[in-house]
């Protein structure tokens, strides 16, 4: 989580105004706001997210319950704030797990080439033959519903994009003179990959990771909505929307606010990603 904050705060402070700076700054501000809300949920949320109040069931938004209450009398505002913890954690873990797998595969395949590369790329071909969401559901279905199994499924399925990106970059980087030089000097492959190849490929995967976070959060919330992700009574936004679905006519607020939360968080990620890639394109 600290990683999100530090990455987010670096970009607005660019020395000169460039294309995409405003976007990236706006995105970073949205992300920062959600991050603060998530970390400080205990301070900002006026109620316990799971406290039942059967007297105040389906109460509309007012001064006491800003976003109203749900069918069990739980405070929707507090649940949205606490939900940020779950959904941001999901986005973070759900990007990191496939990123680590994909970067490792991409580095190994690109750097060593030959048979290793062929085998790894065949595994990649097979993985992309499955529709992403279907394979995730199938794996979660077999392992059992839950957030941790969702992250495991992502590590098994979503690594391919990172592996492709990294492999393509490594194929270019490994022909560069200083990498050749390091090899001639007798540095071990491991050291060369870690010290010379990896830093060069980090840029492009970072930009992809921001967009990937949106997909991970949307898919994770969809799983929560379907009953296959986070399990009730966890205050996860997808679960909350599923909870509110039967009452949406008389109590629209239960569904509306978690959805707005998702849109603003995703918007933060997309704006940062878009802004960063526009800046790179202009400066290059």
């Amino acid at each position: 989580m600290t990683d999100l904050a530090s990455t987010a705060s670096v970009h607005p402070a660019a020395p000169r105004f460039r294309h995409g700076t405003i976007e990236a700054a706006l995105g970073a501000a949205l992300l920062l706001a959600w991050l603060i809300a998530a970390v400080g949920a205990g301070v900002f949320a006026p109620y316990d997210p799971n406290a039942l109040d059967l007297v105040a069931m389906l109460a509309p938004p007012d001064g006491v319950h800003w976003f109203g209450t749900d069918h069990l009398g739980r405070d929707v505002f507090s649940r949205v704030i606490y939900g940020a913890r779950i959904d941001i954690w999901m986005g973070f873990a759900g990007v990191i797990a496939p990123l680590v797998v994909g970067v490792t595969v991409g580095l190994i395949a690109g750097y060593f080439g030959g048979l290793t590369d062929t085998i790894l790329m065949r595994i990649l071909d097979i993985t992309v033959a499955f529709p992403f969401f279907i394979l995730v559901i199938a794996i979660v279905g077999v392992l059992g519903p839950g957030l941790v199994n969702y992250i495991i499924a992502l590590a098994l399925v979503a690594w391919v994009a990172y592996a492709r990106l990294v492999r393509a970059e490594v194929l270019v980087v490994k022909r560069l003179e200083y990498v050749q030089a390091a090899r001639a000097l007798g540095f071990s492959d491991f050291v060369i990959i870690l010290r010379h190849v990896l830093p060069n490929v980090l840029g492009s995967i970072t930009i992809y990771a921001w967009t990937d976070a949106v997909m991970v959060i949307l898919a994770g919330a969809s799983l929560g909505f379907l009953g296959l992700g986070a399990q009730p009574p966890t205050a996860e936004w997808g679960v909350m929307i599923a909870d509110g679905q039967p009452y949406v006519l008389q109590a629209w607020w239960i569904c509306l606010f978690p959805g707005i939360a998702m849109v603003t968080l995703s918007l933060g990620f997309i704006l940062v990603s878009d802004g960063l890639s526009r800046r790179l394109r202009v400066s290059s």
């Binding site: 097979i126 033959a129 499955f130 529709p131 392992l143 949307l218 679905q245």
Partner: protein, 312 residues
């Protein structure tokens, strides 16, 4: 001749992928934590019952023998029995499949014209307000969760205004169109923005190509250059993207089918996962993957037919 050898080569490349797909769906069942037989029979099953079922399923044989008979069964169309419905998985799939296909086709009919219109307007006004507006719309479209929009749509347009039915599939073509309108629109609202972004980028890239400058130098009118050259050259990258998106669409239909209670493959998939109907999960995963491979192949061949350069 050339195109026939291209198709042959592509078909050959698919064989290892198909074998891989069969391995994945075979091992999917092996990933079940614990003993699948005990899972199905329940904790109070007798030792004899467990052994009997183990033999019936062939689980007492070595793994490679199990895999070979899995392949043999799959090739003859036997995907096993549904534990819940007590009918062959293939029958179940064939029963649910047409609804999902209808939905996917419906989405494409709505999303493609919208995409082309938005992308052309954006590209021809690059950097000006129509382009910016379309950009904002497409970013918003990418962030809105389909299931959330679906819940709100179903209640507002379906229940409150009563314009559309909120569940089921209906009888006959017109009823299908009516029942699946909201599901198709909700899905198009995230698909069209994604496609628009890519088609717009492809169009703008073509605008900067040398042949466009040459056409301008010859004094050809802008509209003519756009229609005859730029648009045509942007079709291929978009077509390829569409192949990827259809796979995405098949996956995305799962959520929409649940929200609008459309009895399609996605709804069947979620039901099987919640009901631990393992052979249906396995069979569906296989069917989805084969469908994806077939679509990719079709688009590759179609691309090669339009542009012979790609088959070299």
């Amino acid at each position: 001749m050339n195109s026939i050898s291209f198709i042959g080569r592509r078909l050959l490349q698919i064989v290892p992928v198909l074998i891989g797909i069969s391995l994945v769906s075979f091992f999917l069942i092996m990933m079940i934590p614990g003993d699948p037989v005990r899972m199905v029979l329940g904790p109070r099953a007798t030792e004899e019952a467990v052994t009997a079922m183990r033999q019936e399923w062939g689980l007492d044989r070595p793994i490679w023998a199990q895999y070979l008979s899995y392949i043999g069964n799959t090739l003859t169309g036997d995907l096993g029995q549904s534990l819940k419905f007590r009918i062959p998985v293939l029958d179940l799939v064939l029963q649910y499949l047409p609804r999902t296909l209808f939905l996917v086709a419906y989405v494409l009919v709505i999303a493609l014209p919208a995409t082309i219109l938005m992308a052309v307007i954006a590209a021809r006004n690059e950097g000006r307000w129509p382009d910016q507006l379309i950009r904002v719309i497409s970013i918003l479209g990418m962030t809105i969760p389909v299931f959330w929009l679906g819940v709100l749509f179903a209640r507002y347009f379906g229940v409150k205004l009563g314009w559309f039915p909120v569940s089921g599939y209906g009888d006959g073509f017109v009823e299908h169109l009516h029942h699946l309108f909201l599901p198709a629109v909700s899905t198009s609202l995230w698909l069209a923005p994604l496609l628009t972004r890519n088609l717009r980028a492809a169009l703008i890239e073509q605008t900067e190509a040398d042949y466009v400058a040459a056409s301008r130098a010859k004094g050809l009118p802008e509209g003519y250059i756009f229609r005859r050259h730029i648009l045509r050259n942007s079709v291929l990258p978009t077509l390829n993207l569409l192949g990827v998106m259809i796979a995405f669409l098949i996956g995305g239909s799962v959520v929409v089918e649940i929200v609008y209670a459309v009895p399609g493959l996605g709804a069947l998939m979620v039901g099987s996962v919640l009901g631990r109907d393992y052979f249906v999960i396995q069979g569906l995963t296989l069917v989805y993957a084969i469908a994806t491979v077939a679509i990719t192949l079709a688009i590759d061949i179609f691309t090669a037919a339009i542009d012979p350069r790609t088959s070299e």
